[in-house]
Symmetry: C2
Subunit: 421 residues, 2 copies
């Protein structure tokens, strides 16, 4: 190893996706190790639109571990960060940086300090599982820096200890978090059910719902549910195991009808057990309910699901369509009922894969105003419009898992100083 005091910096930049559960994780059997009371299944979302990027750097010149999140320094002293750091350091191996002529020996990792900078390409305030992408990226990128040889499943088990659902962000495509049986949590990890090339027709539209309510954190929320709900055990022990098997089948067979029914009912049941908690937890608001009603009415009128919805611990809707055509029809309905405030421009109101907008025939704000009411509402009470109740829409798809970004210009730390650029 190069001597102490020398000012070399070795760094790696990684990017990890976020994910959205379609069979929900809610409730831990072990708070410390973050072991869940049931399996869960998620879709990994395209990191182009929703991901965390993290640069981790090591240098003998660093006097302590430091971290920056979205440009702002944050303490690394939290138990969750410390656990992940400890577990990764334990598995560190020798690293050679031939370009710089540096060799870091296995035992050096225990005393070398780290700088870590992480950035989300989507608003953290939006309640879009930023901690899942963040911890997945933290652990994945550290593992790359330290030349950890464990497979992704084992890495996911470490990410799990940062934030439960982070383990599912270690793979692209369709992912199961197997709850596991071992007391030490070693078998509570992510398993890829199918990669992102398996079912490429799916289109995901996220409605970011305006909310003034302060929400219950999912950590304390699920603790209270486990402690007080009279229904959560029945859900975890009886309902979810059967649904997980069916959801695996639905994904395997690209069976959208089954997929949609399972995703919607499981989202609703997750919110039901939140409501069955004392005091009750409300994550969905009137706007969330209206989005569900819009989808249910449409699905009912067509006789078969056109769209699946799922809601995490907040009011945002994640809507999944079987193909671009249905996604365009969905976007028309959403824009009709939830038009933007007058001062909004279209390019900031629909973000991500904007080509869906073209398919929907909407290229200007004026096009939104002239949208026709959906056919399933004809001859009925005219649809009420709720201007501004959705802040913006993100159009995206199922995407790939974490990767190392080799383009050095994407690094978040300066290669000389090891400080944020």
């Amino acid at each position: 190893m190069a001597e102490e005091g020398s000012n070399w910096v070795v760094m790696v930049t990684g990017r990890s996706p976020t994910n959205i559960a379609v069979i929900k994780y809610w409730g831990k059997r072990d708070e410390g190790l973050i072991l869940p009371i049931n399996d869960s299944i998620s879709l990994t979302l395209d990191p182009i639109h929703l991901s965390a990027t993290t640069t981790v750097a090591v240098s003998p010149s660093f006097s302590r571990d430091r971290m920056w999140l979205n440009g702002k320094e944050i303490p690394l002293s939290g138990e969750r960060y410390q656990k992940c750091l400890r577990e990764i350091r334990k598995r560190a191996n020798e690293v050679s940086d031939e370009k710089q002529g540096i060799k870091i020996k296995k035992e050096d990792w225990e005393r070398l300090h780290l700088h870590i900078s992480s950035y989300n390409n989507f608003p953290t305030a939006a309640g879009l599982a930023s901690s899942a992408a963040g911890f997945a990226c933290f652990v994945y990128t550290l593992a790359k820096l330290m030349n950890v040889k464990d497979d992704l499943g084992q890495i996911s088990s470490i990410a799990r200890q940062g934030s439960g659902s982070a383990c599912r962000s270690l793979y692209g495509g369709f992912v199961k978090w197997a709850m596991g049986n071992n007391a030490d949590g070693s078998d509570s990890l992510a398993i890829q059910l199918a990669d992102e090339t398996h079912w490429t027709d799916l289109v995901v539209i996220i409605a970011v719902v305006s909310s003034k309510q302060k929400e219950t954190s999912s950590t304390s929320g699920m603790r209270e549910t486990v402690q007080t709900s009279a229904l959560i055990n029945h859900r975890a022990e009886t309902v979810v195991p059967a649904r997980v098997l069916k959801m695996e089948e639905a994904i395997k067979n690209r069976d959208f009808t089954s997929f949609a029914k399972l995703a919607c009912t499981d989202s609703n049941q997750f919110h039901a057990v939140c409501l069955d908690t004392s005091p009750p937890i409300f994550y969905m608001n009137d706007t969330s309910h209206r989005i569900i009603n819009l989808v249910e009415k449409w699905n009912h009128s067509e006789g078969t699901p056109q769209v699946a919805y799922t809601f995490d611990a907040g009011p945002n809707a994640v809507l999944i369509s079987p193909n671009r055509k249905t996604a365009a029809l969905l976007l028309q309905r959403l824009l009709f009922q939830f038009p933007p405030n007058q001062d909004t421009d279209l390019s900031s109101f629909v973000v991500g894969d904007k080509s869906i907008l073209q398919d929907a025939g909407v290229t200007s704000m004026k096009d939104i105003e002239t949208l026709e009411p959906p056919t399933e509402c004809k001859d009925k009470v005219p649809y009420q419009k709720f201007m501004g109740d959705v802040s913006y829409f993100i159009c995206t798809r199922v995407g790939s898992g974490p990767k190392v970004l080799t383009d050095e210009t994407l690094a978040l730390l300066d290669p000389i100083t090891g400080l944020p650029k």
Copy 2:
């Protein structure tokens, strides 16, 4: 019996209370007989503030059965009305009207026609279980007219076939609807746990919440829950039986702490199984959630329940305080957070037992504007105000069961013509 064609009219006027369940009825095991999947428990509300009044008249001059609800003629052909009519007629006995010198023989009731007029002293649109009071009054008053000898429990079993929860309106005070075991429903009936003199300190405040949403009827809602919820059976078979026993104890001992905890958790669980229905049913809206949060925050800050809440198949909150002092503190909090629209006057914004207003120190609209934020909110984010989100408040109490109104001026039908006055 006086001859056909003669124009005598014999009539009876009755009044029946409404009731609010604190252990909820949701789900039928027999749709036709209206047999529930679990016991339920309710408080009967004071008929002075919330009741149905019904006049039933019989005359040989009537050519067919007719009914008026709130002054408007409605068809009596519905199966539920017909069932109640049939069951009461079966049990009819000889009646003598000595003043008019009329004797109606038992067998005459099969061919004599009825006029029925019913009126609710509260807005039907408010979603305050008008059908419970209505069917209880319909059956009770018919039974009086026809000199039915069955006890109130047996009468309640007939009212049940009009509207399930109507059976609980046959008694004052605290009432259990025993689900029963018999296939013919004969043991599915109301039992009085304690009369209205048992626990007189309780104060009930109903927040009538503005809602633009069309709500799912409870009949179709509970059918869909039974057909699709994966949690309803666990609720009905395991959770409710234990809660019913505890609630009976709490009522017997006037144990408000237990009463409040059971009432709140059971209301929330009822709404949880609604949410677990496919498609999901939402009866509570953002205003309902805010009222719950207000109560939960206050209860939490005091360390012991100050108020119980319960919500039926709609957004209205029924809030139960252990005494007038707490009720006044509750009303202050409610008026602070949900002030009336500017054009409202106080006397129509707080109705029923207005003496609670005096206790709360509110005698004018100006007093509402100058209310201080509740102490549990000091040093916190200032409470947001939601003007107009509650349409009005009804202050009431636990009250008495059905009775015959002997004051003839209260009859809703003309004693000569048998038509609505």
